[in-house]
């Protein structure tokens, strides 16, 4: 039987505010356990929350960028449950009046465009961290992350494959980065997703029973967890088993998902409005002001790259998919008109090296990539040399002009010097001359290669070509 997969995502993004959602403690990542804490975020008796205004602003920015309606009368509610990482035994979240609702995003999978509905975006506080106690065997509670502001972005069950889910999260990540409302550092957990997934026979309109796989914090994990769960559910159904509505975990190291042990607590969060916090009432003026000051978003930049700079859609998609890359690209093109070449460098060597070295930032200025392209275009260095210089730039972060000068890599374009090399290579390779004359064109390539070697890559290849032909045809 053929099955259709139905996926909905809940994406949690930590907001890039300086302080926590309800107290003035720093949100900085890292730091000794429990050193970014106070009575409010450790849930001491008598302590009270006061909402950080930036949290509201950032959530609305995200909502507007994701085409949501903004709720003008919003409130915060308590979600009651016990867990050692939740100091007050309730999480302050939003229940029936979230800040944003009814939005949508367009995703692009292999050129296929699709709209994904966004049910709601609400603000809430993060929990702390439970660490395994290496010695005692128990658990240790660190509350540095407790009370860090989050937005939860809840999608409609609109996705039908892991590729769509991945594209959707990538899109959210790009938007949040462009808005500068979240760092979206997945390995630090500042962007993570819960996957709701069910299957149904193709053509069926009713939804199947869904499971929720929680806390996926890399694109790889999201993709693999979805693939795993699809396979598991199909196998179960084919074996005549019933899918149980349950919460699941994903073990990325072992590549398997598993049901969380039967939670002893029944799911009844007893939401009610938090009496410690005031209502949030947003004026149309306030919302419009945020709307008017939204920065440029990925889609609009993508169109600009395609229409104005002539980049292929594929390249434009990838570059604008990361704010870091797009900013880098924009900055580089200020110093050099050859946008296509800059794009090629980014799409090729730059992305490759970033991945290889697991870097999040390019270690040199965008201006330097522009300079490198200018040097190639002006014939000052060869493409081959440029690749080496580029590797060097990653190592040292230096200006490519300095590298070229220091290492003497300037392309040899002096006719006399080129001629000297050509004559030397011909002298050392008499067989190639015979081959060439016998009509073997490959021999020319070999000779040019030898000349490049002789010049340690610095000779201008076009000039070499021309001069070899002149000499051989003499």
């Amino acid at each position: 039987m053929e099955y259709e997969v139905v996926i909905g995502l809940e994406v949690h993004a930590e907001l890039a505010t300086k302080t926590k959602i309800f107290c003035g403690c720093s949100t900085q990542f890292g730091g000794e356990p429990n050193t970014h804490c106070c009575p409010v975020c450790t849930g001491m008796p008598g302590a009270l929350p006061v909402l950080n205004e930036k949290v509201v602003e950032y959530a609305i920015k995200a909502g507007l960028a994701m085409n949501c309606d903004i709720e003008q009368n919003s409130k915060q509610d308590r979600k009651n449950y016990f867990y050692p990482d939740l100091p007050k035994a309730y999480q302050i979240s939003q229940y029936d009046l979230p800040l944003c609702k009814n939005g949508h995003l367009e995703i692009d999978v292999d050129g296929q465009k699709k709209n994904i509905g966004i049910t709601r975006i609400h603000i809430e506080e993060d929990a702390g961290k439970l660490n395994h106690d290496e010695f005692g065997g128990g658990a240790l509670v660190d509350l540095n992350r407790a009370c860090v502001p989050l937005i939860e972005i809840v999608s409609e069950p609109d996705m039908r494959s892991s590729a769509e889910a991945k594209a959707y999260v990538e899109k959210i990540k790009a938007i949040l980065e462009y808005l500068e409302v979240s760092d979206c550092k997945m390995q630090e957990g500042s962007l993570r997703a819960d996957v709701n997934l069910s299957i149904r026979p193709k053509g069926e309109t009713k939804f199947g029973t869904r499971t929720e796989t929680k806390n996926l914090n890399s694109f790889k994990a999201i993709t693999r967890a979805i693939e795993f769960e699809i396979k598991r559910q199909i196998e179960a159904v084919e074996n005549g088993e019933e899918i149980i509505q349950e919460t699941r975990r994903w073990d990325d190291d072992r590549g398997i998902g598993y049901a969380m042990r039967g939670k002893e607590d029944a799911h009844d969060y007893r939401y009610f409005p938090d009496p410690d916090l005031a209502l949030i009432k947003l004026s149309a003026e306030y919302i419009n002001n945020i709307r008017e000051n939204l920065p440029e978003l990925p889609d609009s930049r993508k169109q600009k790259y395609i229409n104005e700079l002539g980049l292929p859609e594929y390249d434009a998609n990838i570059i604008t998919g990361s704010k870091m890359l797009a900013d880098f690209f924009d900055e580089a093109t200020k110093y050099c008109d050859n946008a296509k070449s800059i794009s090629n460098w980014i799409m090729g060597d730059l992305l490759r090296i970033l991945t290889e070295k697991e870097l999040e930032q390019v270690p040199f200025k965008p201006e330097y990539l522009a300079k490198l392209v200018v040097m190639i275009d002006s014939g000052k260095i060869s493409s081959a040399i440029a690749k080496k210089v580029f590797e060097d730039m990653f190592e040292t972060g230096e200006n490519p002009e300095d590298i070229v000068t220091k290492k003497g890599l300037v392309q040899i374009s002096d006719e006399g010097a080129i001629k000297e090399i050509v004559l030397k290579v011909l002298e050392n390779n008499p067989q190639s001359i015979i081959d060439f004359k016998a009509g073997k064109d490959k021999a020319l390539g070999f000779l040019v290669g030898q000349a490049m070697k002789e010049s340690r890559g610095k000779a201008n290849p076009q000039m070499l070509n021309k001069m070899f032909l002149e000499e051989l045809n003499k």
Partner: protein, 489 residues
């Protein structure tokens, strides 16, 4: 002269004139606590060294002619649900028996900024849930007027201490009558300010939308002096009102001429003890004789305020008390084999019976399937209560009612039936539901010589009219000058 009988305004003068020092005054209280409190049992913790140290410092400053605050050298007791950094804050619960607060409540900061000396922490019903102080996990407090009777609650320690001259004034907290009812039982002046007038930061929450801190004092002037210090905006409490700071002492005028007083009939009818009723009617006559008009009025929703109160208060409490889970502070059970057991045993062993009952009720009314019938319904009735008080205040400046339908009863006589206990809160809970201010002042004694209190209720943030009205009554009667004789001492 026994200087522990002084009021704040009397002691202030003597301190300023150099007739006494703060050290002498504080020491007199400490000595009296040592002598009398073993009988009354109002204190959970006495901060002897800390208090004497503070007093010495104030005396030093005074000697050097430094600027001093408005409560400089005045020894004050604090209900044990307000945090004082470095001092135990137990809420009279086994759960927090050894809990040392890591920070100061805003009211403590404000008192200490004005030079007040903190004598110690006062007994209460566990987590402020109760009306007799018998629910303290440690010991019941006795009524100084008759030590076989309860002092009321939950701020029973705070009222008993003032009544027995074990503190010049105290702080209580009031969620459904916890300042006013013990004030009525012990013949003290107790004010529950408008919700939002006094910061709740550092007050261990019982029911966040109802809780309010207020003073318990020997007379109305002291109440105003305390409010000068307690009232004020606090950016750490979102529910704190951002209003101009007032000098409450300026409203102490002996004049109620033209004042319109309403007497809601629902508060003086069935279920109100006859002696209490007649004391209130006499008080009404007194006001009339002083030039006020007194008229019967009606707040019909009163019939429903008790279930409304218990649903809202318990719902909030069930959530507020979740944090006592044995992980970060508080009682942790000795034996458990799962995390769930650690939670359950710590909470079951750490909380007393009444607290558990209220957590259960609160969890029940918030739980799936019951939320609308109870919690939503109660929040709608709350709107009606607010509306009906508003309407009453369109016509009247203040409302007059008994503070409690009964006077202090025998210790142990009423603990068995929870609902019967709840019913005695009938006069006080609507005030918290509506968020309006109310003051309880002495207005008589029953045939057993137990105090009777009357309650004056005001509009939001109209403490000034309450104070003026209470002050006038006090100046024209002598109930306030009566002192209990404690066990013949």
């Amino acid at each position: 002269m026994d200087i522990t009988t002084l009021t704040i305004h009397e002691a202030k003068k003597m301190l300023e004139n150099g007739e006494i020092t703060s050290y002498e005054l504080t020491k007199a209280y400490i000595d009296r606590i040592k002598k009398i409190d073993p009988i009354i049992k109002s204190y959970v913790t006495v901060c002897e060294d800390r208090a004497l140290q503070q007093a010495k410092m104030i005396d030093e400053k005074r000697k050097n002619g430094e600027a001093l605050g408005s409560l400089a050298g005045i020894p004050i007791g604090i209900k044990d649900n307000m945090c004082i950094k470095g001092v135990k804050t137990t809420c009279s619960s086994k759960m927090l028996e050894n809990f040392v607060a890591p920070y100061n409540a805003t009211v403590i900061e404000n008192l200490e900024k004005e030079g007040a000396v903190i004598l110690g922490k006062l007994n209460m019903d566990e987590f402020a849930m109760g009306a007799s102080t018998e629910r303290s996990a440690f010991f019941p407090t006795k009524n100084p007027w008759n030590i076989s009777k309860v002092p009321g609650g939950s701020s029973g320690g705070s009222a008993a201490a003032v009544s027995a001259d074990l503190a010049i004034a105290t702080l209580g907290s009031d969620t459904g009558g916890s300042i006013r009812q013990p004030s009525s039982f012990c013949s003290t002046v107790g004010l529950k300010p408008t919700y939002g007038l006094v910061s709740r930061y550092g007050l261990v929450a019982f029911a966040s939308s109802l809780d309010q801190i207020g003073p318990i004092t020997k007379d109305v002037e002291d109440c105003a002096l305390m409010m000068n210090v307690l009232a004020g905006h606090d950016s750490r409490d979102t529910t704190s009102a951002n209003l101009e700071k007032l000098e409450y002492t300026q409203f102490l005028q002996n004049d109620v001429k033209g004042l319109k007083i309403g007497m809601p009939k629902e508060y003086i009818g069935e279920g109100i003890n006859d002696e209490v009723k007649s004391a209130i009617l006499s008080a009404a006559d007194k006001f009339k004789s002083l030039g006020a008009t007194v008229e019967e009025c009606s707040i019909p929703v009163t019939e429903y305020v008790l279930p409304t109160y218990y649903i809202i208060a318990c719902a909030e409490a069930s959530s507020n008390l979740g944090r006592f889970d044995g992980i970060r502070y508080g009682y942790r059970a000795k034996e458990y084999s799962t995390l769930k057991e650690l939670y359950e045993k710590s909470r079951s062993e750490g909380f007393g019976e009444e607290v558990k009952r209220r957590i259960l009720l609160g969890t029940y009314v918030l739980s799936s399937g019951y939320y609308d019938a109870y919690y939503t319904k109660a929040q709608k009735v709350r709107t009606m209560v607010i509306e009906q008080f508003k309407q009453a205040f369109n016509k009247y400046d203040v409302l007059l009612t008994p503070t409690s339908p009964i006077t202090a009863y025998d210790i142990g006589s009423k603990t068995d039936d929870p609902v019967a206990m709840y019913l005695s809160d009938i006069c006080t809970v609507s005030i918290n539901i509506a968020g309006v201010p109310a003051i309880s002042i002495p207005c008589g004694f029953d045939s057993d010589n137990m105090p009777i209190g009357m309650q004056l209720i005001g509009k939001h943030f109209d403490e000034k009219t309450l104070l003026r009205c209470a002050y006038t009554f006090e100046k024209n009667t002598d109930f306030n000058s009566m002192k209990p004789e404690i066990g013949g001492i």
